[in-house]
């Protein structure tokens, strides 16, 4: 539901061109675009840390199954 408020005292505020420019940042936009669209350079199974974590999980699973 939208609420409405009448501004009787002054013109409703409007940002100036300079104020709007401050928020304009195309490089941030492209960085975000890349973040969302580009695949990670390394596939997960080739990532050293992920691979190590996978071995640890497998080892724990094995030890638990033997216990």
């Amino acid at each position: 539901m939208t609420k409405y408020k009448i501004n009787r005292d002054q013109e409703p505020k409007t940002p100036t061109q300079e104020q709007m420019e401050k928020y304009k940042d195309f490089s941030r936009l492209t960085a975000n675009y890349d973040k969302f669209t580009k695949r990670p350079k390394l596939p997960l199974y080739k990532d050293k840390r992920f691979f190590l974590a996978l071995i640890i999980i497998a080892l724990i699973a094995y030890l638990l199954s033997q216990a």
């Binding site: 939208t2 709007m20 492209t30």
Partner: protein, 185 residues
């Protein structure tokens, strides 16, 4: 060639470029940033929020640009649609109601359309806004665009991707609904 047609052709050119090279999206970004920012600002009433929402809307536009097809409507209409959805999403996430600050002259204009007497009465003006708040968001939106943001029928038609005649019909149906609600209270 008039200004609007020239702008439309320029957009098609920019879109084709941006589809080939993402950096060319900056042409559209620079052209529409202010317009979109102002549209969002009118709805969220905060510059920081408008900046963030505008950036997200632009990102979504950039990501969906490969799917964009020209159907004879201005590119800006597509952008406004995305921005409108982003604003609604923002209010839903924040669990806040939408908020629109308006001039009393705009309310008086709407009162005139609904044939309410006593345009100067603050009580009547507030009552009308309460009735307006009861409308469904998509119904209130068209009233806001026409009476509070002073959009032309052409701009409303482009926004909804309908003809101008349809935009007028849709608006007057909602005005009739408002009249009905006004007389019922």
């Amino acid at each position: 060639m008039d200004k609007k047609k020239a702008s439309y052709r320029q957009d098609l050119e920019f879109i084709a470029k941006a589809k080939r090279d993402k950096n060319s999206f900056s042409l559209l970004y620079n052209k529409y940033w202010e317009q979109l920012f102002l549209y969002i600002f009118k709805k969220v009433q905060s510059m920081d929020v408008a900046g963030e929402v505008c950036q997200t809307a632009m990102l979504k536009a950039m990501m969906n640009l490969p799917k964009y097809e020209d159907r004879g409507f201005p590119f800006s209409a597509w952008l406004y649609r995305i921005a409108s959805n982003e604003v609604n999403l923002y209010f839903r996430k924040k669990k806040k109601d939408g908020f629109v600050e308006i001039k009393d002259t705009h309310v008086k204009e709407l009162m005139g359309e609904i044939e309410i007497s006593g345009l100067e009465s603050i009580d009547e003006q507030e009552k009308l806004l309460a009735v307006l708040s009861e409308l469904k968001p998509n119904q209130a939106e068209i009233i806001e665009m026409r009476f509070f943001f002073s959009y032309s029928f052409k701009e409303i038609a482009d926004f909804y991707k309908i003809s101008e005649a349809n935009a007028k019909m849709r608006l007057y149906r909602i005005i009739d609904k408002l009249k009905q609600k006004w007389s019922d209270q």
